[in-house]
């Protein structure tokens, strides 16, 4: 799964929006590949579309990040909003059950 994703940063950081792809996605975590710089512990807000369902500004925390062989950043993210996690779990079950 390589979902296109819009990355927003916390307003106080004053950073421009970025983009990337979700290489993996579970109800509580994701692996993100992006050209944007990320820092461990940083808060990000992800917007993406899973099948017919749109997720807007899903809050997540960068657990781990490293550079890959191509010069992109590969990051492990953890979603922090419990309500959004449940909604994502439902959407994933819907996709997986087909």
């Amino acid at each position: 799964m390589r979902l296109p994703v819009l990355i927003r940063f916390a307003p106080e950081v004053g950073r421009q929006d970025g983009w990337g792809r979700l290489e993996e996605l579970t109800a509580s975590s994701a692996r993100l590949s992006t050209a944007s710089a990320l820092a461990r512990g940083e808060k990000v807000f992800l917007s993406f579309q899973l099948d017919a369902e749109s997720f807007k500004s899903l809050p997540a925390e960068v657990l781990y990040e490293e550079g890959d062989d191509d010069g992109y950043r590969s990051a492990e993210l953890r979603f922090t909003d419990e309500v959004a996690k449940r909604r994502l779990a439902r959407a994933l079950i819907d996709v997986l059950s087909r």
Binding site: W19, T26, A27, S33, Y72, K85
Partner: protein, 385 residues
């Protein structure tokens, strides 16, 4: 070096990108109009296309045209103005990657490398053979000889693979990567995955996922069923007693009751926990404080990663030695049997959980290095090992 088609209306930008891609080692076929780009696509057969999106060219429209002609062509779009929403929209349309301005050699190169590594199927045109001379005939004979030898070997290999395929399969990849524990509830095999903080119920017949229970505040390390109750442990050291309902509602939390708990097993009276770090097994009452009645040193030389009770004996899974150990229920520090698990002999998986379905053992293994691939479910011999 890869051949790269470039569509850019602005001559200055076109020259700049041609130079950058050339410096990065690519052969660039540049075009100033969409019609020229289509010509490049048909005549030069580039490895990928680079389109420039700006006020003078709608890259989305050009992208659709390129993919209409060559659906497998990886397409990279370079934005003249940074717009993350536009970038995501282009990726949804079919762009492999989008390069942000200001364009740099490094940024462009990493984007092109990413695209080449992740996209598409390479095609090549087979050239017609030249007229044959005497030497060519000799060469042809040699090719026929080696071809026949290779063909025979391939045929035997195919036969062997068909034979292997006809044999009963006993392991399956699972759609998650970090299994921590396993249990059987009388109907389904349940696997706890710590990373996704979820329990997955698999049909033992076709291994399909029947149910998933997401735990919002718990990173599970083990689970065990006891009638309508579910016991689970978490990385925090807490043990939970759940109701076996749709959401596995937590009935009781025993904070710090079992730090490092790798395995949980309920024998009908006592709750057993294993500690792979301190290498010991504890016997507990299911009273309000999960009181430890006795603690026994683990009799194996490895780590007790999981526990299971089969109705008569307590078993542990030794994750380092890839063994199942049968314990004397009265004195679990005494192993009454040690059975190797040859399925793990290759070292590709680390056993993480074990379950007993009444006829056979099942184990789940985590791919090594950790998280490098899907977890695997193993079905072991029907009789007790």
């Amino acid at each position: 070096m890869a051949a790269l088609g470039l569509l850019c209306l602005d001559p200055e930008d076109r020259q700049k990108l041609t130079l950058m891609a050339g410096e990065a080692g690519h052969l660039v076929h540049a075009a100033g109009r969409l019609a020229e780009a289509v010509e490049v696509l048909r005549e030069s057969r580039p490895r990928m296309m680079l389109l420039v999106d700006g006020p003078d060219l709608d890259a989305a429209q050009a992208l659709r045209e390129v993919l209409r002609i060559s659906p497998l062509m990886p397409v990279v779009v370079a934005l003249k103005r940074r717009d993350a929403g536009r970038a995501v929209s282009l990726m949804r349309t079919g762009a492999a990657e989008v390069v942000a301005p200001p364009w740099t050699k490094e940024g462009l190169q990493s984007c092109l490398l990413k695209t080449m590594r992740g996209q598409g199927t390479a095609f090549s045109i087979v050239q017609a053979p030249a007229r044959r001379s005497g030497a060519a005939l000799f060469f042809l004979a040699a090719v026929v000889f080696f071809g026949a030898a290779f063909g025979t070997s391939a045929y035997r290999r195919r036969e062997r693979m068909a034979l292997e395929a006809s044999q009963v399969r006993t392991s399956w990849d699972l759609p998650y990567k970090h299994p921590a524990g396993m249990a059987f509830d009388g109907k389904d095999l349940w696997v706890a995955d710590w990373f996704s903080q979820s329990f997955y119920a698999h049909d033992p017949g076709d291994r399909s996922i029947r149910r998933m229970v997401h735990l919002t505040a718990q990173m599970p390390t083990a689970l065990s069923f006891a009638g309508d109750t579910v016991w689970s442990s978490a990385a925090s050291g807490a043990v939970f007693r759940h109701m076996k309902d749709a959401t596995f509602k937590v009935l009781e939390t025993y904070r710090g009751a079992a730090p490092h708990a790798g395995g949980l097993a309920y024998d009908g009276l006592y709750l057993w926990t294993s500690d792979p770090v301190k290498k010991r097994i504890s016997k507990r009452l299911t009273d309000p404080s999960l009181s430890v009645i006795a603690t026994y040193p683990y009799p194996g030389s490895g780590e007790p990663a999981a526990l299971v009770f089969d109705g008569t004996a307590l078993w542990s899974l030794d994750s380092l030695n890839h063994q199942l150990l049968r314990h004397n229920l009265e004195r679990p520090d005494e192993a009454t049997g040690r059975f190797d698990l040859p399925e793990y002999a290759s070292g590709g998986y680390k056993p993480a959980g074990v379950a007993w379905d009444g006829r056979r053992f099942w184990t789940v293994g985590e791919k090594l290095p950790r998280g490098s691939g899907p977890a695997r479910l193993f079905q072991h011999a029907e009789a007790k090992p």
